[in-house]
Assembly symmetry: C2
Homo-oligomer: 100 residues x 2
């Protein structure tokens, strides 16, 4: 599945409702799912983790649709020429990306 196909799937499924609700209120649901993902990676099964990753991606895709952002283009622009920090295929940054 391409990123564009996923974005279109979510557009058909949810965008009318999410446009009507608007980005701020839709963002709240993304944050709820981020919390569920946090719980899943902390103590969930692989199936539970997978389901929460899917939900987070769906809310991100729908917000991108509402905002008119093409996720494929966004990724290619930011990560398509290597790490945005160091420009390498395998990140060599000695910055915040290395350690908290």
């Amino acid at each position: 599945m391409t990123i564009a196909e996923f974005q279109r799937l979510i557009n058909v499924m949810y965008s009318d409702k999410d446009r009507a609700r608007g980005t701020p209120a839709t963002f709240l649901w993304l944050i709820e799912e981020i919390g569920e993902l946090a719980a899943a990676v902390a103590e969930g099964t692989q199936e539970e983790k997978a389901a929460e990753f899917a939900d987070v991606l769906a809310w991100i895709a729908t917000i991108a649709n509402v905002e008119g952002v093409d996720l494929t283009a966004a990724i290619q622009e930011k990560y398509g020429r290597g790490c945005p920090g160091c420009g390498r295929e395998v990140c060599q940054c000695d910055t915040k990306n290395v350690q908290v």
Copy 2:
């Protein structure tokens, strides 16, 4: 670009560092980027929004890699047969997905 290609790109670019750091500390960086995305959708340009969506997706992909989750399979399992709530291609749920 497929979701699998993006997950592999991020795996090559960041997974060694992110596996060493571990999921909890890596999750903190995801949350920072979620905050940057919130700021961008609130008052950013389209270019700034796109960059923040890309960053959020990159952190989600790297956490999925660390956790051994295949994002394509996760999406197909959860959203590949219609809305998880109502089973339809265009969501008709009369639940929390409709309005906050």
